[in-house]
């Protein structure tokens, strides 16, 4: 009841002190702007840094590890069953790196509806020969389509076209550092020798840059077929299966499940890269803390201005109470003042915060290590705007609550008789 009347009185008091009101609102605006810009920027940075590694990492990686058999013949023998058997320097037998029965595993993974996509891979060490120089490096045999779709392979190609790997036989994409060492450019031919010393001619169709120098100096990509040819292996030969899941949080459980099901080594992304999540979490925490501190300071500003307003408007409060406004009405008037400062300042802050984020988004930011990034990263998550709006309302309401309670308790008799 009477909300319209209370609103109109609050509005009149606000406008009568519009300069103070502006200062209070600007305080809220500033803090919300910074809150939004800070969080958007931090989240953008987190995404970028996580993406640097996590985008290119399989959620679950299946592979075969060469290791000595744990089950030695002497342990199986019934004769020595009750003895201690010491065996030194156990060496792995000539085991294969290949994933056994890879076709069946791929079929099974494709049917699993927790899986977003799979990319088979062959990893093999080779030598690049340039005249007398031999550079040790690794060739990754990949399925270009699924590699691009799941691990953003295209993003890292700085020269050439990734699709050429599939179209042009015996082609290769070199890391930029590796290409420099070999002084090879797109279109050139490079010589590769496999472990057995056989030499192959490959055509350079592109260069890539990941941002991690060590990778760029030692990695190269070719199609699976090309690598199988280099290794002299049949077309079922693959050494890794990279699995990307729909929900990355399930990775540890699924990795265990696959390890048991396929009798294979399986490592999940969380185990492989645990330090990344910690970093992201701390950065987010710091930005929230700074944002909240800014809002609290703005809240104190509102508190001060309302307190001052109440001292100035003692007469008004007294006559309102004398003519029939209850303490509750008076409190509502001042709460309305506080929350309208919050709503106005907050709304403007959200807009300016969006604007500031958009500006940061345009600032050039190029670094050799991040070839795909041209400007500072910004994450326009609507959640930040919702949090900002809620916080601005809550802080201004609290900042208004205490002064308005004081106003409601003012005894009109003391004011009127004091004149």
């Amino acid at each position: 009841m009477n909300m319209k009347l209370i609103g109109s009185i609050a509005k009149a008091l606000l406008l009568a002190r519009w300069k103070q009101t502006m200062v209070a609102a600007i305080g809220v605006t500033f803090s919300i702007t910074m809150f939004i810009a800070l969080l958007s920027f931090m989240a953008g940075l987190n995404d970028l840094l996580d993406g640097l590694l996590l985008n290119r990492t399989a959620h679950v990686r299946l592979y075969n590890e060469i290791q000595p058999s744990k089950d030695q013949p002497v342990n199986r023998s019934a004769i020595y069953k009750n003895d201690y058997n010491f065996i030194h320097s156990v060496k792995p037998a000539a085991a294969r790196l290949q994933i056994y029965n890879s076709g069946a595993i791929l079929q099974a993974l494709k049917k699993d509806n927790r899986v977003l996509g799979i990319a088979p891979k062959i990893i093999t060490p080779v030598f690049f020969n340039d005249m007398n120089i031999h550079v040790a490096a690794v060739i990754n045999g990949i399925d270009v389509k699924s590699e691009s779709k799941l691990f953003y392979f295209n993003d890292y190609i700085t020269e050439g076209v990734s699709g050429d790997l599939e179209k042009i036989p015996n082609s290769i994409v070199l890391g930029k550092g590796l290409a420099n060492q070999l002084s090879a450019a797109v279109g050139d031919r490079v010589q590769v020798s496999n472990i057995s010393g056989e030499i192959f001619q490959l055509k350079v169709t592109g260069l890539f840059q990941t941002g991690v120098q060590e990778l760029d100096k030692t990695q190269s990509y070719a199609s699976i077929v090309t690598v199988q040819k280099i290794m002299g292996q049949p077309n079922t030969f693959i050494t890794d299966i990279q699995v990307k899941l729909k929900n990355v949080k399930e990775a540890p459980a699924i990795a265990k499940e696959y390890a048991a099901l396929f009798e294979i080594e399986a490592v999940d992304i969380q185990t492989a890269n645990s330090q990344f999540e910690t970093g992201s979490f701390i950065r987010t925490l710091i930005s929230y803390a700074v944002g909240i501190v800014l809002l609290v300071v703005a809240g104190f500003g509102i508190y001060n201005i309302l307190n001052m307003m109440i001292y100035e408007k003692m007469d008004t409060i007294a006559i309102l109470k004398a003519t029939g406004f209850s303490g509750r009405d008076v409190q509502n008037i001042f709460l309305a003042i506080a929350t309208s400062i919050g709503v106005l300042g907050g709304a403007l802050g959200l807009l300016l915060g969006f604007g500031l984020s958009a500006i940061i988004d345009q600032i050039p930011f190029s670094t050799a290590s991040l070839p795909t990034i041209k400007t500072y990263p910004i994450n326009y998550n609507p959640l930040f705007y919702i949090i900002g709006a809620v916080f601005s309302l809550v802080t201004t309401f609290l900042a208004g609550w205490f002064p308005s309670r004081k106003a409601s308790k003012i005894d009109p008799v003391i004011i009127i008789r004091g004149k």
């Binding site: 309102l320 004398a322 003519t323 004149k419």
Partner: protein, 225 residues
């Protein structure tokens, strides 16, 4: 005797700071509808204190207060505010107009708070009251553009807006010069005679008091006449 509008039964009040001083003792009085009453006495005799108790703004007293035959004792703050809004009009020594609002809006405020009538009707009533007091031309002016006498008349119009059972005045002419004082007093008289308005006015000006229907004289916290 006419219908009783305001009745005090053995009202006492003491201040406890720094020692206990009794400012009102066993005040018993009644005001009937249509009466024009002056409450007089020397400075410090407790007449203003009594008025604020009768007005329901001061609730720290012993005894019983009846307005329109309803007891005001132990009523909640919000309920008392409602009583003041509906049944009592105030005119103080100082005008207490809200400078942010126009004269018309100042007069309308208690009516809008009561919300018995629509905004349009309250506005119409307010204009009527301003006409009665001869200041309808000032309706659209801001409160701080008025002279002292005009302000006090606007305050009277504000007191009238909800057609209260009783108008209470605390030295309403105390801040005004002779001419304006007479003016305000004549308005009270007009309200009393033409509109049968009940008025209770605290004043120390004997010449005014003498021209009213009834004088209640106080001394040292007691009614002596």
């Amino acid at each position: 005797m006419n219908e009783i509008i305001l009745e005090a039964k053995e009202i006492s009040k003491s201040f406890n700071d720094p020692v206990k001083v009794k400012v009102l003792s066993d005040i018993t009085m009644a005001i009937a509808k249509g009466e024009f009453v002056a409450l007089t006495g020397k400075s410090g005799c407790g007449k203003s204190t009594l008025l604020y108790i009768l007005s329901t703004m001061d609730t720290d007293y012993e005894g019983e207060l009846l307005i329109d035959t309803i007891s005001m004792v132990r009523k909640k703050e919000a309920a008392l505010a409602r009583v003041r809004n509906e049944k009592i009009g105030f005119v103080f020594q100082f005008h207490y107009l809200l400078e942010e609002f126009s004269v018309l809006k100042n007069v309308m405020l208690p009516g809008l708070k009561l919300a018995r009538l629509s905004e349009k009707e309250v506005e119409h009533d307010a204009m009527e009251k301003l006409k009665i007091l001869g200041i309808d031309k000032l309706a659209m002016k801001k409160a701080n553009q008025l002279s002292g006498g005009e302000k006090q008349r606007v305050a009277i119009a504000r007191a009238l807006i909800n057609n209260p059972d009783i108008i209470m005045g605390d030295e309403p002419t105390g801040n005004l010069d002779k001419k304006n004082s007479d003016n305000v007093f004549d308005l009270f008289k007009k309200l009393s005679e033409e509109f049968k308005q009940t008025l209770l006015i605290v004043t120390h000006d004997q010449s005014f008091a003498d021209r009213m229907h009834r004088i209640i004289e106080m001394e040292d916290g007691r009614i002596i006449n």
